[in-house]
Symmetry: C2
Subunit: 442 residues, 2 copies
């Protein structure tokens, strides 16, 4: 397991009481970063750290000169309108800032009252805040790292031979669209596009009929590499700033007609939703896991994708859930219906393997670049991370508690993702929500 | 033909004499935009306009308050370190700035001496300048719009059925990598990557053995569209700021092993070279052409990809040339060897069709976004825009005047692109050079 320090101490509590609630995603052991401003204000956005039901305003902390040394440098960078500069500073600065924030917010000790006196004016209620994207993403790359997802999708095209020959050798990925990344809560408009129906000779233009979600994790690059240089696996691991939830909304019918031979394009660039809180790599340290076990007979990764450290702790023990709330459920104030529950530990390629492979041709990555894992599906149907898998391309509709059924997403449906890390001996942490409601084609 | 004005007047000459040389790419009828600073200086980069062998420094023009109204607003925007803000202003501003620059630089008239007195201090010798990328490209998309290229490449995989069924319906494109866009002259390092040799069971990691260029045009988006909104074909045409040359360096062996099912990835993100001068859509007005003739039997484009204007002037009559200069040729100071000569008019989809299709799902495009046409190949071998076509995947090596031969690019080889527009009754304009030397794998 990666090295733990006092910020991971399960005994540590915060003087901000809501951070100590059993169910909170944001105890003092988490301390995820985001960018926010007060809702409805014209304030300049700045970095913040989630703590219980509040946000520690890092620009306020910076102005009040509460930190010193690397933590002061990091909190200055985090006062920008995006976290890109903080991401570029690297792990020593991130760690110093996390430690300083943890100490500022910690309960106990002789100086608790003083720390509370300094820290409390820097808190903003989360319910008063508008959350924005944490980074200006220069480039976004999406991978295809879940072998169960690749197998499920491949089976629909090639029942006898679902995985292509390169799958177990290459962390398959493709360049995604950066401009259409949006923060949780942004409405997603159903795209229109060219569809080719099986019984028609020619395509037509119509609203997408097979709109889907993809349950993914995203991760942000910290210090990058120059064009023409590469990263070892352990260097890559140290350059990952943190993680979020990612919904790679997908228009399956548009994709089926457009994707050969250059891959998905308009099927994906209709919008990609990110959860606003970035859970740092350091916060996830207690929840690392060995990389996924390769079944007997699978090739071992090539040397550039192999390290003892990655094998021991490359995996992420994160429970991932997808929920659906139809317009009727929203009207009835009913709880969302859970569609799936899986774990990121089942992913075939580790995040460090994805990043190392990405840079292996000399492609330069920059602070704030975003990588997605691809849909995370596990071995059992309960854990499949998209409707195309759960409904077998719409053929087996899901029955909902309201009596409604779904093959794909309908207008007015809201898709929500949640994620938690839970391990004995550690305080559970969560990712907050990643949500979006689908609105009709314009 | 699009509307012409005094800036296109073939009689107009400049008081800067080098702009009147017969062979120059940059007569007063061209006036392409770029970003520069004095070589070896720590000057702040700013916009400039090429005129003969010099650059009109737009920040100097702005400071000297030489322009009024929209031209003054536009030249202020063009004084930024990138042209993104100028691009976002839209066609009325671009046109006002072009007219003001043309008048400032024009010879003749009673006030020529006064205009020269004002303008000359704003000129910088091009040989003293370092040219940079003209825009901070938020997103880069590459198309596959030459049917001859798609057919040539398709034949190597599917001799009897080279074009996929969607080709004549969809301007096929994919999301490219923005971070690895570089300006002409930047060295390109040969990538290493996973290669799967035909006689091997497993892939290996090795330097690319099939490094290729792709001769393309790039074009920059001006005012964009919001997420969830679309563009008509004529709106799209009016939002294209200008054009450059683009070399989509391609590692064919890496691509062959990685590309299924999500498209090219590391085969492309090793570097993409852009020529520094952006020839505006307005400068190209005299060189527009009808969109490419569809052979009898080809489907007509769907309505969203059809307009009378696009049919009449969607094409680009631009002569495109690719050259190779080996290390031996450089040592002998020999002229580059021409590999191909083609014309952008042969491209199957127009640039407005590419942009309209891109936005047709509601994908948002932003000022400074870059679109590439894909390799431009014509019907005859002389006009094929990549080595994989010219050498039939390396099987028929090209013989060079030095006695050397080439299947693909070797270390030390320089690839150069040039482009010119030549029509009777008009002054010819050019694009400058797009060049890059390949260096060995690190």
């Amino acid at each position: 397991m990666p090295k733990l320090n006092e910020t991971h101490d399960p005994q540590r509590r915060s003087w901000h009481a809501a951070a100590n609630d059993a169910g909170t995603d944001f105890p003092i052991q988490n301390l995820p970063f985001g960018v926010f401003r007060r809702r409805g204000s014209d304030e300049v956005p700045r970095g913040g750290v989630a703590i219980g039901d509040a946000i520690l305003d890092l620009a306020s902390v910076h102005r009040a000169k509460l930190f010193e040394g690397k933590a002061a440098e990091a909190v200055a960078a985090a006062s920008d309108t995006t976290l890109n500069r903080l991401m570029g500073l690297g792990a020593a600065h991130w760690s110093a800032l996390r430690l300083a924030v943890s100490r500022l917010l910690a309960a106990g000790g002789a100086d608790e009252a003083e720390r509370r006196r300094l820290g409390q004016p820097c808190l903003v209620w989360m319910q008063d805040a508008e959350l924005l994207l944490g980074a200006a993403v220069g480039d976004y790359t999406d991978f295809y790292a879940s072998i169960f997802h690749a197998t499920n999708v491949g089976k629909q095209l090639r029942p006898d031979n679902p995985l292509l020959p390169n799958y177990k050798w290459i962390p398959i990925g493709y360049h995604g669209r950066g401009s259409s990344l949006v923060v949780s809560g942004t409405k997603i408009r159903r795209p229109s596009g060219q569809l080719k129906l099986p019984d028609q000779d020619a395509p037509m233009v119509a609203p997408c009929r097979m709109l889907d979600y993809e349950l993914e994790m995203g991760f942000f690059v910290g210090p990058g590499n120059g064009l023409g240089t590469t990263l070892t696996l352990d260097e890559a691991a140290d350059r990952i700033f943190g993680f979020c939830l990612l919904n790679d909304w997908s228009a399956r019918d548009i994709q089926a007609w457009e994707y050969a031979p250059l891959g998905p394009f308009l099927a994906k660039s209709l919008g990609t939703t990110l959860s606003p809180w970035i859970v740092t790599a350091e916060a996830l340290a207690p929840f690392r896991a060995p990389s996924a076990t390769r079944p007997a007979g699978d090739p071992q990764p090539l040397p550039y994708l192999t390290s003892a450290r990655d094998a021991a702790e490359g995996g992420l023990d994160v429970i991932l859930e997808a929920y659906l709330r139809t317009a009727q459920m929203q009207a009835e104030n009913a709880a969302p219906h859970r569609l799936s529950r899986g774990n990121a530990q089942t992913v075939y390629w580790t995040v460090a393997q994805m990043l190392t492979h990405h840079a292996s041709n000399g492609c330069n990555l920059n602070p704030g670049d975003l990588l997605g894992t691809g849909t995370i599906s596990g071995p059992d149907k309960e854990s499949w991370g998209s409707l195309i898998e759960l409904t077998f391309r719409g053929r087996e509709r899901i029955e909902l508690p309201t009596g409604e059924t779904r093959g794909f997403i309908e207008d007015g449906d809201e898709i929500l993702f949640r994620a938690r890390c839970e391990r004995p001996g550690h305080v559970a942490i969560g990712f907050g929500e990643c949500r979006g409601i689908v609105t009709p084609t314009a």
